[in-house]
Symmetry: C2
């Protein structure tokens, strides 16, 4: 992905760049993307604005995009290994628990949620990023649904893609409400209800 025309980074440079992205992510989690200034990020990361523009020539937008990309990866990583191995009931339950715990712990401080909603609509690059995250996440769930169908644990008539979409929406809705109200109950209810559907539709043995 990295263009060959960019200046090569030395070890120190790469470390600084990483520090900036980390610090920016933390700041955004705490205060929101719009409320986070470059000076805040400089203060937190012990850098100066010249570094920010050195590593992110297009300024704030480029930095925010880098943060968003990193957080998107992290969202999926944090659900592993369960998300990649949804082959039996226990795995689904564990996945559900991991998701709930992750967001319960993060509470209202969800950098990705902030970025999607504050920056998602504004730039095409951010929209693409969001769309890719949705697609990757949904694909993992879809694969899980298919595994269960192959194992005879989910009804074969089930539309795997649609089911994955519904699960993803359940998570997303629960998280959105969590971010607004600070309560994790909706996320739990949404996930449990969705999983209950799959259980009750369980084909007879």
């Amino acid at each position: 992905m990295r263009s060959a025309r960019e200046p090569r980074l030395t070890a120190k440079g790469a470390a600084t760049r990483r520090r900036i992205v980390e610090g920016a992510a933390a700041e955004i989690r705490e205060r929101g993307a719009a409320a986070t200034t470059l000076d805040d990020i400089c203060a937190r990361t012990s850098t100066s604005k010249s570094q920010i523009f050195h590593y992110f020539p297009d300024g704030k937008e480029e930095l925010l995009l880098a943060v968003a990309a990193r957080e998107a990866d992290r969202v999926l990583e944090d659900q592993q290994p369960h998300l990649g191995d949804l082959t039996k009931w226990e795995a689904w339950q564990e996945w559900r628990d991991v998701v709930v715990r992750r967001y319960e712990k993060q509470g209202v401080h969800c950098a990705l949620g902030v970025l999607i909603t504050e920056l998602g609509r504004s730039t095409p690059a951010a929209q693409t990023l969001t769309a890719q995250l949705v697609e990757r996440w949904q694909a993992a769930l879809r694969t899980g649904v298919r595994h269960m169908q192959d194992a005879g644990l989910f009804k074969p008539e089930l539309d795997a893609d649609r089911t994955a979409a519904a699960l993803l929406a359940a998570v997303q809705g629960g998280v959105t409400i969590l971010m607004s109200t600070g309560r994790v109950t909706h996320l739990e209810a949404a996930l449990d209800t969705s999983l209950a559907l799959l259980r009750n539709d369980n084909p007879p043995p």
Copy 2:
């Protein structure tokens, strides 16, 4: 709700105030709350900043809050009469259709979604407003679930509040993904899946 200490509004004044709120809502729908400036609103509504501060002495925050309150009411109104009369299967289906159509039409331009996510976390007043909307919406759904239980159409063991929470999360998640991607498929999948659960759990006649 209106304090007695505020200056009394004349007919013209009330009209101007309304115009400002409408214009602000429209602008926010199109560009987001953070990107909307008071000058934008002035230009669109043919007013000057002095009027904004005349009608909203606390400035932008107060105006945004007024917009959010109005949009919150509107969200619920737009779901009527179906949301208030969820007493049979057809009503649920009609409600589902209304919700999908409403957001399909609005597309990514959801002022409330924007406000909840961009302003919800920042101020206590906004958080309260959001919490109230969630509670009112969920209460309506909960009442519907109870009606169905009383009529023997939903299982009596169902937790009405939890079910309502799951439905609300489904809508919210679908809308969030709609706002990010422009596609209504997740909203449909989430709602249909949730309703299917209730149908399949249908107690035997």
